[in-house]
């Protein structure tokens, strides 16, 4: 039996964990898939590679995916993970006791990520207008933590081991977490629309393999962490932690729909054509691969 090649684009983070695990544990092979995986620095490059036909499937966070749906070239197949509430923690300097103390302070954001939206929603929820604080945009967590610790900014939502790194100096503490922002954020797996049309079975097979991988991760976190770390050159303990913070499972539920809409609304300000969950996501394949994972109300 010959294996059908499928080209995946993933980032160097844990976003594509199931893909690594499915490859390493032979889930792809079992489905007749020859997975060819290319790593990119961020999801943006991975999804761009998909758009231009250099990859068949790619994973990415909601922002880059939603902003690239409008051309109809890519189809979102499923949510691939979402962070559990509490993944992002609002770290503030010790003199900030309360949300309202943030007024007039410098707040760090990771521009164009879930954290960006969480920060905005958090401020909104607490009745702080955007122009009452100084938003400082960064492109990576490292810079945010460095700025916090060196006193260049006063507060920021951090995540993963960034939280511990920002607070262990003693000058900062966790004020609250993203539960307070009431926002849903996910990463998705998307495919070239053309690919899904040409190879519907392969698409479904892929989702099956990834679902198997999700289940493996849920039950064998240590081994999964080792596999992922090996492939991304990430430290194993960090990966192990990340597996705890996040829910690695394929899903298309109202949770994803809500998160998707938030991003779409945010982007509508800058985009000519509005996008929606309905136009961008095709639940057909996941339904076929694992019907119980699709739970979309009306």
């Amino acid at each position: 039996q010959t294996l059908e090649p499928v080209r995946f684009g993933v980032d160097a983070y844990t976003t594509g964990s199931q893909i690594w695990v499915a490859k390493e544990k032979g889930f792809f092979e079992k489905e007749g898939i020859d997975a060819q995986i290319t790593t990119f620095a961020t999801g943006v490059e991975a999804i761009d590679a998909l758009l231009i036909g250099r990859a068949d499937m790619a994973v990415g966070l909601d922002f880059p995916i939603v902003s690239r749906i409008q051309g109809g070239k890519l189809t979102v197949l499923a949510g691939i993970f979402h962070s559990k509430p509490g993944f992002h923690k609002l770290v503030v300097s010790n003199d900030i006791k309360d949300a309202k103390d943030l007024v007039g302070k410098k707040i760090g954001i990771a521009t164009g990520t879930a954290q960006h939206l969480i920060t905005m929603k958090y401020l909104e929820e607490n009745g702080i207008a955007e122009d009452k604080v100084e938003i400082v945009g960064f492109t990576s967590l490292l810079e945010i933590v460095a700025s916090l610790r060196s006193g260049r900014i006063d507060a920021a939502f951090t995540w993963a081991d960034g939280t511990e790194k920002s607070t262990d100096g003693g000058d900062h503490y966790v004020l609250t977490d993203d539960a307070a922002a009431k926002r849903n954020s996910s990463a998705y797996i998307a495919a070239q629309t053309e690919f899904t049309e040409k190879h519907p079975e392969l698409t479904v097979a892929t989702l099956r393999a990834l679902n198997a991988a999700s289940q493996f991760i849920a039950t064998n976190k240590d081994e999964a962490a080792a596999l992922i770390a090996k492939n991304t050159r990430a430290p194993r303990d960090t990966v192990r932690d990340l597996l705890n913070y996040n829910e690695f499972a394929l899903a298309l539920t109202d949770y994803e729909r809500a998160g998707f809409k938030e991003v779409a609304d945010f982007l509508a300000k800058t985009k000519a054509q509005p996008v929606s969950f309905e136009t961008g996501v095709n639940p057909k394949f996941l339904k076929e691969a694992a019907p119980d994972l699709v739970k979309l109300g009306n």
Partner: protein
């Protein structure tokens, strides 16, 4: 055919080719047509984003360029003049000029904050080494006859330095700064990765993220055109004010 006609011709050909490419060859999603880009630029102009971004970025680029040159020229001169200075500093010059600015972003934020300062210093960092290396090679290739002539005429080492070495190495400094100008433009993208909320580099980053390819191209083209204009201004300066020092190097 006058010289600028050739240039106009080739620019026209390339723009037409671009239009054709984006129509037939490359997905316009990634290579928007000239008109689309113009349209995007128009939008940004109307909103005021473009003008503001140009001003902000140019301020950063030029400050960083000047700062970098102001630091690099004395070091380059010292290294070119004194073998001891050279051996002391050389390992660092030829080490740090290979270290990407992006790798130092974190340290720069810690040291210089998230304001303008760290961006300007990042640009200065990226430009300084080219100017330094060019200045030092310029100084060390001044003909010994010229230096000795000055000494025989009674110039002491200070006077040799100011009255002969500096004028004689101005061509190298000038060319170094001209090359480094490009570096300043190139790192604006990296510099505006950090804590920026305006600027052409910022537009490039956010439009990449939000996939506004026409905006991104408008910013790229603005960068290219500004660079071109600055380069021409610099050449004009070389051909007028500094003419007597630069005869021969302003040919290109």
């Amino acid at each position: 055919m006058p010289s600028y006609a050739w240039s106009a011709l080739s620019v026209a050909v390339v723009v037409i080719f671009w239009q054709m490419a984006s129509t037939w060859l490359v997905d316009p999603m990634f290579l928007p047509a000239p008109l689309a880009v113009l349209n995007g630029a128009g939008q940004m102009l109307a909103e005021g984003t473009l003008t503001q971004s140009i001003l902000v970025s140019m301020m950063r680029i030029l400050s960083g360029w000047f700062l970098g040159s102001a630091i690099a020229i004395p070091i380059g001169l010292a290294v070119g003049v004194s073998p001891v200075a050279r051996h002391l500093v050389d390992p660092f010059i030829h080490f740090f000029r290979f270290v990407p600015a992006i790798a130092l972003v974190t340290l720069f934020i810690i040291w210089f904050g998230v304001g303008e300062m760290s961006k300007i210093i990042l640009i200065a960092y990226a430009t300084a080494f080219i100017v330094m290396v060019n200045t030092a090679s310029g100084v060390s290739s001044i003909s010994q006859d010229k230096l000795n002539a000055a000494r025989c005429l009674g110039a002491n080492e200070r006077q040799v330095f100011f009255k002969v070495m500096i004028p004689a190495s101005l061509p190298s400094i000038y060319v170094g700064m001209r090359l480094a100008l490009a570096s300043s433009f190139l790192v604006i993208a990296a510099a505006e990765m950090l804590a920026a909320d305006a600027g052409l580099g910022y537009i490039i980053w956010t439009s990449r993220l939000y996939f506004q390819v026409d905006w991104m191209f408008a910013a790229i083209i603005a960068l290219g055109l500004l660079g071109f204009a600055t380069d021409r201004l610099w050449r004009l300066l070389g051909r007028t004010l500094l003419k007597r020092y630069l005869r021969g190097v302003t040919g290109y």
